[in-house]
């Protein structure tokens, strides 16, 4: 059995997440991916903003930076640009990344800066008790959408791709083994990489939306996720109401810190390394 202890700050456990929450599943997948890629703990910086998912860095034994709401990518950009040799991982949530941090999200993608972002999408503001987020499905309920959400919601992967990300993938908490592979691929991609993870918040979202248990929500993920390969053989009608999982987009593009290095070399042709 995989031993997580090497990567966890065990003295900081138990974690603050609610029973049935999907965040721990993602945390474990991140650890397995890092272990499989044999990244040195000293070389990894994990940056987060504010929210349930953003508490992840507190539990892992890396260089960890828990910043202000929505700003993780801004801080992470400073870390990566200042010391490009570091691996930079950002963990964020749907509200943190696409509401208050939406501007940083699209611009990190546009720069294609070598940062891997794991975005925990639970369709709700969990930490503050269940307010509607930019991914709360239209028609579902939140404490600030008591009569049903009238807002349309973001397709985060489409947003990242349109903004310029060079790697875009989606997984779920239910398909945990697939997550390891998606996160590994994301980290290996030299550029801005997004892994969106659809996961359950049984307390702040599920209870308001006719999911009696966390299991019901996991079952929903299982029934609504369609892999990219399977989707290729399905009709539009069959895909109605489903979401795609797997690597949705990958394209090599110039990476920001590498471009900056090239510029330095161009400006200092005679300097020695």
């Amino acid at each position: 059995m995989f031993n997580y202890n090497e990567y966890l700050r065990n003295e900081k456990l138990p974690h603050i997440w609610c029973p049935g929450c999907g965040d721990g599943t993602v945390l474990k997948a991140i650890i397995r991916a890092i272990h499989n890629l044999q990244i040195r703990k000293d070389d990894l910086v994990m940056v987060s903003g504010i929210g349930c998912s953003s508490r992840t860095p507190g539990y892992v034994d890396f260089n960890t930076l828990h910043t202000t709401h929505g700003r993780a990518l801004a801080f992470a950009t400073g870390v990566k640009h200042a010391k490009p040799g570091l691996k930079v991982l950002v963990v964020s949530g749907d509200g943190d990344a696409t509401a208050i941090g939406g501007n940083h999200f699209i611009h990190a993608a546009r720069r294609n800066i070598d940062i891997t972002m794991i975005l925990y999408n639970n369709y709700i503001y969990g930490m503050t008790g269940g307010q509607a987020s930019p991914t709360t499905p239209t028609g579902s309920f939140a404490s600030t959408a008591p009569y049903g959400n009238i807002d349309p919601n973001f397709d985060i992967c489409a947003l990242a791709q349109a903004a310029g990300a060079s790697f875009v993938a989606r997984g779920t908490a239910y398909h945990a083994p697939q997550l390891d592979r998606l996160i590994e691929k994301a980290i290996l991609n030299r550029g801005f990489s997004l892994v969106e993870v659809m996961l359950q918040c049984p307390i702040a979202y599920g209870r308001r939306n006719r999911f009696k248990t966390a299991n019901d929500m996991l079952k929903w993920q299982k029934e609504h996720a369609v892999s990219v390969d399977a989707a290729a053989k399905m009709t539009a009608e069959e895909l109605e109401g489903k979401f795609l999982t797997g690597v949705l987009f990958q394209k090599e593009r110039p990476e920001f810190t590498a471009q900056y290095e090239h510029m330095i070399e161009r400006l200092n042709p005679h300097s020695e390394e």
Binding site: D43, G58, T64, G78, N103, N268
Partner: protein
């Protein structure tokens, strides 16, 4: 007189850039905003030639975040902005205070509120510099008046940021930012450069927020083998969030006292002709230039006038001014705002002397004549 070979004729924003380079700044993140943009432009053009790093971020908030991230890797980092951008940066300035991340924020002040007067001068961010971010905190802010002063003050901002592990604000204004004067860069060996104290203990023993004797914990670079946690939440010596009232109290008190107990080292001010002065002008930044001229004119007319010019406006040179207030009956604060420093002077003087204000609010500098007129009124 022989012209000096190494004399430069530069604007204040350029002197700020040169000072930053001299201090060892290697990282700039910013966002275009008048009247500070020249600093970003110089960093964009010169940093890559010197191995430094520049980035234009998507907004002011992001620029402040990137500066903090870069500083955590060990690079001396800065940003430059003006009032509207300074407002946006306050959230992350608070983070830098809480997480004790050294950095320098230049605010080239313009008229406000809001978009205000983008191309004209003001000193109306004095209290924003002091209390712009939420929560109890101390802050260090410097307000130079001349181009050579901007150069040395910028170096000093970095030194103070590094020594006290705190953001430091360089408060310029449009007038000193854009005016040109001669700058002679002093020889490198005549300038003292302070660097943050890095840990010498083993990573296993390292406490990133240790209560040291000086009140300032050692700071490890990200990626140097000291893995630790940085958060804007109240935290204990280990850096991890805590709800323990005793630990929180101790932490917040240390954040405040680490500045307060080193006031003597931080505070810098100058005086002119105060020995026999009946009236003392209190001024800083571009307004101090008008005050100096007014002093000379008033002295030429036989009026006993002095000048008290704080370079460090936060923390304010409180003791020195209080001593002066034992003797002087009238203070005239000269500043281009509604009396933001006057409030502080009144608090310190505590009713022992009258405190008057000469100001402008329209982007124009204070004329020396208006100060002389006021001197005659109060005498």
């Amino acid at each position: 007189m022989e012209p000096k070979k190494n004399a430069l004729f530069v604007q204040g924003n350029h002197a700020c850039f040169l000072g930053a380079v001299r201090a060892g700044c290697q990282f700039f993140a910013g966002y275009p905003i008048t009247p500070s943009t020249e600093i970003a432009e110089l960093c964009a053009s010169e940093f890559p030639k010197m191995g430094g790093r520049f980035i234009q971020m998507e907004d002011e908030i992001a620029a402040m975040g990137a500066v903090i991230g870069a500083s955590l890797t060990g690079l001396k980092s800065m940003t430059a902005t003006s009032g509207p951008g300074f407002s946006l940066k306050q959230e992350n300035i608070g983070f830098a205070i809480m997480a004790e991340v050294p950095c320098v924020i230049v605010d080239v002040q313009r008229g406000g509120p809001s978009t205000g007067l983008p191309t004209q001068s003001s000193q109306s961010d004095v209290l924003q510099a002091r209390w712009g971010t939420h929560g109890d905190h101390e802050i260090i802010a410097l307000a130079p008046s001349t181009i050579p002063e901007i150069y040395t003050a910028t170096i000093r901002c970095f030194n103070l940021a590094e020594r006290y592990r705190t953001p430091v604000i360089l408060l310029l204004d449009e007038i000193v930012g854009h005016m040109r004067e001669v700058l002679v860069e002093p020889p490198a060996d005549s300038i003292e450069i302070w660097n943050r104290t890095r840990p010498t203990c083993s990573p296993a023993e390292y406490l990133p927020y240790r209560h040291t004797e000086s009140g300032i914990p050692e700071m490890a670079d990200f990626g140097s083998g000291y893995r630790y946690h940085v958060t804007g939440l109240c935290h204990d010596e280990t850096g991890f969030p805590t709800n323990d009232p005793k630990k929180i109290d101790r932490h917040v008190r240390r954040l405040i006292s680490k500045i307060g107990r080193h006031r003597d080292e931080i505070i810098e001010y100058s005086t002119r002709a105060i020995e026999d002065a009946d009236v003392v002008l209190v001024s800083y930044g571009s307004s101090a230039r008008s005050a100096k001229r007014a002093l000379d004119d008033a002295r030429a007319a036989g009026l006993k006038v002095g000048l008290f010019k704080p370079m460090t406006i936060w923390p304010f040179p409180e003791e020195a001014l209080r001593l002066l207030a034992n003797r002087v009956r009238n203070f005239i604060v000269c500043e281009t705002n509604m009396g933001q420093m006057k409030l502080e002077v009144e608090r310190i003087v505590g009713g022992k002397a009258a405190v008057h204000l000469v100001n402008t609010l329209n982007g124009e500098p204070i004329t020396p004549q208006s100060i002389v007129d006021r001197i005659r009124e109060v005498m």
